[in-house]
């Protein structure tokens, strides 16, 4: 019998817009 692989863990990801916001705020913080 075929052994079924264990389920993979879903990695939560921010949306593209949220990533954009994060990058913008990082850029603003750094001089």
């Amino acid at each position: 019998s075929v052994q079924r692989p264990r389920p993979r863990v879903l990695l939560k990801a921010p949306t593209l817009a949220e990533m954009e916001e994060m990058t913008t705020s990082e850029e603003e913080e750094s001089p």
Partner: protein
């Protein structure tokens, strides 16, 4: 194009080990500072395969923070490059190819059986083991749409200045210049003066350039088809809108030249194997406008012929062209008011859109069909010019 794919030693499992502190250097050398020309002669979409092999390493070591960090840095790196090169067709096409390829890899090696039907046994060994990256796939898909839109914007910006003069003003059919409409024989529009004058050959040259770049970079063929459908729509919209607003080009001779130009574009699509893109169909209103200029416009039978032919033009557009139509010489009559009324009466039951002009900014929705690669990760060679010596093959 030569492809550098070398069979690596058997124990290479298609993963690339890297240290967290090298992530920034990896993104710099492989994404933000990379020039597509450096990779000529290598396998298309090499950065995407390298990035996948790094993701796989992080997955294999069950390090979710490392996977998250690498994918976030990659996406931000790509966005940074695109922002910096927002008028560079080659760079934008390059990152569209690579973003789509990375997305395909995350599907092909996800472990989801639906994406594994074409995998070899070896490829199945290269699937992710610990993490489900479905949400990151969505982000990459959204990013691909953004890059596609940037690519279209750049291509349209390059084509736009050529369209009116190449499609409507330039006369490549010999002898046509003598049959310009009365009063317009010596007129040339401001767009056709001096350096702003283009012939159809310029449009075809530019499209050849787009096509070659996208093919060389390994952009998915289905995306290339959608790019040309979009560009042909834009050419049609700009040309038809000008025709609908300019009396001097509403003539039999322009109709003849326009039909010839369209047939050249159709021929180009066939020559590049792009005829199944739907691009030719987007030109249908323009083809009909060219025919309308050439048809007789006098009798009831002529009106019936026009109505049955011009199915892709609205009543408003047909009437406008007939009103603008300019006789070639003193022997040709203007279109009579009663003829136009006959046309309007015949078309009154049509449920036409109200606006006269086409929306030249309209974008067809883009689709990125799954396109698995037959390449196996362990066959990929990293060229020294990428300065990625800190990656270890595992």
């Amino acid at each position: 194009r030569q492809v550098t794919v070398q069979r690596k030693e058997k124990d290479f499992q298609g993963m690339l080990e890297y240290h967290k502190e090298d992530e920034a250097l990896l993104i710099r050398n492989l994404v933000t500072d990379l020039k597509p020309q450096m990779l000529s002669g290598t396998v298309p979409c090499l950065p995407a395969y390298i990035l996948y092999m790094c993701v796989r390493y992080a997955d294999n070591t069950n390090d979710d923070l490392k996977v998250h960090s690498l994918l976030t840095s990659t996406i931000n790196g790509i966005k940074k490059v695109l922002k910096k090169h927002n008028d560079d067709f080659e760079m934008t096409s390059f990152w569209l190819s690579n973003t789509c390829r990375l997305l395909h890899c995350l599907k092909q090696y996800s472990g989801d059986e639906g994406f594994m039907t074409q995998n070899t046994a070896k490829q199945n060994e290269h699937c992710l083991k610990n993490f489900d990256l479905t949400e990151y796939r969505q982000v990459l898909s959204d990013l691909s749409i953004q890059i596609y839109q940037q690519l279209i914007k750049i291509a349209e910006g390059l084509l736009q200045p050529m369209i009116v003069s190449a499609m409507l003003e330039n006369e490549s059919i010999q002898g046509l210049s003598g049959v310009k409409p009365m009063g317009y024989r010596k007129r040339s529009s401001s767009m056709a003066d001096g350096d702003n004058s283009y012939c159809l050959e310029a449009i075809i040259r530019q499209m050849n350039c787009f096509h070659t770049v996208m093919c060389d970079q390994g952009l998915d063929p289905e995306i290339i088809l959608q790019v040309f459908k979009q560009l042909f729509y834009m050419i049609t919209a700009v040309t038809l809108n000008n025709l609908l607003l300019r009396k001097d080009v509403c003539s039999w001779s322009t109709g003849m030249q326009l039909r010839y130009n369209i047939s050249q574009l159709e021929e180009w699509l066939r020559g590049r194997n792009l005829h199944q893109s739907g691009a030719a169909q987007t030109m249908e209103p323009l083809i009909q406008a060219a025919q309308l200029l050439q048809l007789k416009k006098k009798t009831r039978e002529d009106a019936e012929a026009i109505c049955s032919l011009c199915t892709s033009l609205s009543t408003q557009q047909i009437v406008k062209i007939l009103n603008l139509y300019t006789p070639l010489n003193e022997f040709e009559e203007r279109v009579t008011v009663s003829f136009i009324r006959t046309i309007q009466a015949q078309l009154q039951d049509r449920n036409d859109p109200q606006q006269l002009l086409l929306d030249s900014k309209h974008m067809f929705p883009v689709l990125f069909p799954f396109n698995p690669s037959s390449l196996t990760m362990d066959s990929i060679h990293i060229p020294a010019c990428l300065s990625l010596e800190f990656l270890n093959e595992v």
